[in-house]
Amino acid sequence: MAAAAAPDHLFHLRNNFYLGSFQAAINNSDLPNLSPDDAVERDCLVYRSYIALGSYQLVINEIDSAATTPLQAVKLLALYLSNPHDKESTIASLKEWLADPAIGSNAILRLIAGIVFMHEEDYIEALKHTNAGGTMELHALNVQIFIKMHRSDYAERQLRVMQQIDEDHTLTQLANAWLNLAVGGSKIQEAYLIFQDFSEKYPMTGLILNGKAVCCMHMGNFDEAETLLLEALNKDAKDPETLANLVVCGLHLGKSSSRYVSQLKLTHPEHVLVKRASSAEDSFERAVQSVA
């Protein structure tokens, strides 16, 4: 990183996006005098914020065919997420674009590919496009993929690359926290400190609160976790992770969490917790059959 003190205009926007204050990212995106590259990045972040907020249709409608490759990629993500029943066509066009040497190496496109293939749980395919890295986001995504694959050794290697580029980058810190949580043990506390740092530096977001709460849960401190989660629930009553973690917390505290479960089932029927619960029920029945 050069010593010249060039101000980073997109810093806040990126930060807001990474830390989950999507509405703030959208609201504060009206930055004047951006270079064309920055403007494209800005638009990507804004549309991805909309996607994160679930406004898929808005993104699909607003990005027309004349838009740049990164934006098209973002649109693909919106298409993929908006229409779970017609994934195939989206994936097909994604693969087609990736194969195109002219645009196939675009960082955003590869990032979107990584995300889509992660949703498909095809981690190998995802890594094919993301492992080369190139942006902090791609590296961070790699960390997450490796965590998902339970390969914390690889994740750590990715993290080290990120740390070499910029140790204090929000994504580096976040990825560090993810990895710390994934490997557990004494690292949990470090993860907690990272989230704590965020909460001191930036406005509280559901993501930060959830991060802290998860750390607390892993440290066995479910009371504090619940307090944090309720605070997060105040910020966003529909946040699926908040609800899911509240369910878990409630169970450990011996409190009824059925309301959170049904809320989650209503708003996010596809959530991991819901899916896990239903598959567990099935496997319970199966097991009853087999044991009996």
Partner: protein, 1212 residues
Amino acid sequence: MLTKFETKSNRVKGLSFHTKRPWILASLHSGVIQLWDYRMGTLIDRFDEHDGPVRGVHFHMSQPLFVSGGDDYKIKVWNYKLHRCLFTLLGHLDYIRTVQFHHEHPWIVSASDDQTIRIWNWQSRTCISVLTGHNHYVMCASFHPKEDLVVSASLDQTVRVWDVSSLKKKGASPADDILRLSQMNTDLFGGVDAVVKYVLEGHDRGVNWAAFHPTLPLIVSGADDRQVKLWRMNDTKAWEVDTLRGHMNNVSCVMFHAKQDIIVSNSEDKSIRVWDATKRTGLQTFRREHDRFWILAAHPEINLLAAGHDSGMIVFKLERERPAFAVSGDSLFYAKDRFLRYYDFSTQKETQIVPIRRAGSTTLNQCPRTLSYSPTENAVLICSDVDGGTYELYQIPKDSIGRSDLQEAKRGPGSSAIFVARNRFAVLDKSNNQVLIKNLKNEVVRKSGLPVPTDAIFYAGTGNLLCRSDDRVVVFDLQQRLVLGDLQAPFVKYVVWSSDMESVALLSKHSIIITSKKLVHQCTFHETIRVKSGAWDENGVFIYTTPNHIKYCLPNGDSGIIRTLDVPIYLTKVSGNKIFCLDRDGKNKTLVIDATEYIFKLSLLRKRYDHVMSMIRNSQLCGEAVIAYLQQKGFPEVALHFVKDEKTRFNLAIESGNIQIAVASAKEIDDKDHWYRLGVEALRQGNAGIVEYAYQRTKNFERLSFLYLINGNLEKLSKMLKIAEVKNDVMGQFHNALYLGDIQERVKILENAGHLPLAYVTASVHGLHDVAERLAAELGDDVPSFPEGKEPSLMPPAPIICGGDWPLLRVMKGIFEGGFDSTGRGAVDEEEEGADGDWGEDLDMVDSDGLQNGDVTAILEDGEVAEDNEEGGWDLEDLELPPEVETPRVNARSSVFVAPTPGMPVSQIWTQRSSLAADHAAAGNFDTAKRLLSRQLGIRNFTPLKSMFLDLHTGSHSYLRAFSSAPVVSLAVERGWSESASPNVRGPPALVFNFSQLDEKLKAGYKATTDGKFTEALRLFLNILHTIPLIVVESRREVDEVKELIIIAKEYVLGLQMELKRRELKDNPVRQQELAAYFTHCNLQMPHLRLALRNAMTICFKAKNLATAANFARRLLETNPNENHSKAARQVLQASERNMTDASQLNYDFRNPFVTCGATYVPIYRGQKDVSCPYCTTRFVPTQEGQLCTICDLAVIGADASGLLCSPSQIR
């Protein structure tokens, strides 16, 4: 060298510090003696009576005296309070070089070019001894600080030590002195009372100065041979110890430092040199360009030195005395001597933490300058000036505060280093104007250029730096590389943040600037003397110190003195009225201050009137200063309550618009001016009654009439007309008539006054034709003509309403008054708020609206402008790697990268590691979990366990939203986490059920049983039984407890089932009795057993099974029941003893021990065959074998099982 004060004058030949006051005397070559206040930098006095240069000057230790000696051979003793010379001591026959008071005796020692040293008694004003022996000019002579010795230096190349102990005897009675006077004179040049003790020879040229060590038997001397020599002496002899070479010209003066092991000398080579007294090496040299040095002086108590030279003098100290410290929450870290120390504000305890490196005394001023602390990492950064700026990083061991093994600190060059985040610190690299961000391993993580040329950095919140340059400070965001705030400020020396990090105080040499965290200026305070330190109190008041005061600054820019100080202190924390500080010796001190004044002012400022009130009531705040302050700050209504003087009271009342008090005061004062002013104020408020009253009192009829006109009070107006008539005031009459619209009266007045034409015009215009004709007749030819086309209009409009006050201005009144009249404080508060709200509000709303709008646009504009500037000024630099690098990488990936195979999920590790069913269930491996349970406990029926299994599974993972829009990461939660657990080593899953929950359920079950809620109780006990198979505990002991719990729960389930069954059976009294009887044989808690026994007793008694009932009664009595119950039991016993029979035969033999079958509820007596449940151990009659246990509803009766496995300790 830290120069504290400098003067420009003629050559300074003599210097002397005052012991207590910040004063120094300088005697000049011109003959003038100057008295300076070196702290304030002012010339206090000058004494000009010597003729020719004054070479020696000295303050008395305790009296307001000083002595001087000059080239006019005179020794003068002065009283500085009286600003005059008291007397002159004559005797020397040549220039006098030095003079000095004895610290104890009323003596003065003087050295002169007449080759003698004389000792004088300044009380008797006589010379008591003449010390002869030197055979050249004596350049200096001084008393030993403790012993009866004098040391002198002479151009005869010797230093002499004189024993003056005999003088003491001589001076024992002052009367003697006078008697001996004649004898003394004869003794001249041959006195025997003071004798030479040692003659120190060694210098090759004339010796200019010699001085004793304050405590050790050492002498230091300086001579024209450019050497400084060190001498030692004992009782019998004295010898040369060493020579310090280095000066390039005559050494003028030399002395030992009182507190450090150093020697200070100065010379005509224009330098001051500092030497190590032990190693005898030069430490430091301070040079002046053009001025030769002549004299040195040391402050007797504090660490100050002074040196006189050709064109003035300097007051300086060699080393800074401010201890480096950092405050974090309730702890203070500071450096003292060679240790980092820790002080706890709450307990006021201090501890030594780690030793810190001490740069050998090769140079001075190497002690720590600043200290920065990171609470989470427990690390300390210490900066010092060693090697032109060095920082050291110390890690404080967590547990062993006080253990003092020297650790090798990580260090690096850099004049400023501070923590900018938990585990990051910034080091200033001045030469490249950049900061290096380093981690705790002292590795550079990042470099960042600074926006302004910076010579020091300070903390400014996480990730931010406050950069100081000569005339400004900026707050710089390291991550965004943006300047967040910028302020012109004189050279900032220290930065103090408020605890909420919202405000910051920038301390410069002579000023304090308070700003917001973005450096938006709030107020500036100027001092004439140095600002030493500061700290924020909890209320947002900034407390600071100067060398002699503790002062406060309020947010609105007011400041004031809290108390005076004797010695400078360095504030570390302010908490309530307690001030914590460090003194110059690095000792922690606590001062209690009177915070009333500034808290009072702050409360006023914040409009906390309730506080203000209670403070007024409870403390002695009164005083002109407070009244003046209140008045000046616009709180006359508050001041009102302090004042007794009627005129001031009136003024304040008028100012605050308190009419009632003003009226009362005006009555007291009763002069025209005050009534008039009352009238003006009342008019402003619209209080017509008071206005009228005031006008009446001042007899101001014209105003009164006008008031009535405005009020429409015609009645009073006509009275006024009458009054005017009586007073024969024509003009007044006319006015009143005009106001009244009474034309006839007007005409009459005009006529009477002789203005006939006017009277005619008035009459004719208003249609009074008969009068007009009459007047026309009188006027004759002089009848005036009328202008055309004018309508008469001199009629006042008729009043719509009449009299009374106008709507009054709402005056904020009575907030304090009410309070003083001892009504409740709360009520007063409300009233106050009401008053504010009533009419202030609308206006406020408009105001704030307008303001907000304005603000918003202003901010927007600001933002845009700022953006614009940045765009122009800085090239945008992309954070990401440049695309050129990217492309080859992308190509490379397909060929090189091989994706790793997925690793093993944590849940799988769980199942592999554990044979506890709960762990398997948590891992979602229900299949194996069930197999385990059926093997261990013979459980076949899993339906009751379903929800537990699912809960365990759900509770085993938490969810983390990682990358936006990417799938959520689920993380395995492990149980038994500890700080020291190593990462990547998988612990067992965290389970949602634990033993303590069961304990609570058990209690709830007991309670439900006591309350007779049997269904509820049964549910709870069953739940316990159902949960236990999935419980995991740590120790063997707990395993036993779990097993006990199974038995307890089982007994209750059985008992409760029987009881419920009994209640269903309405028509089978025998079976009812049997079940009730069996219930009493379940292992129950005493209260429950008692209830069961009573129950059984009653049932059997009613069914006339008296013998059985008697048995129950007896058992009941054994349990020590309460009064009622025992009474009933005794009655049953009595009744049945008369007739020990049973009416019906029961399958119940209480003499024979038995257990009850869990399914059929029949007794299984000892010796009879039974089968039991492998889990809950309930016994059953053999026919039940192979059936599902009716108690736990889980296991199969009589099945094979290895037993409960609920703890890893069972497996090890």
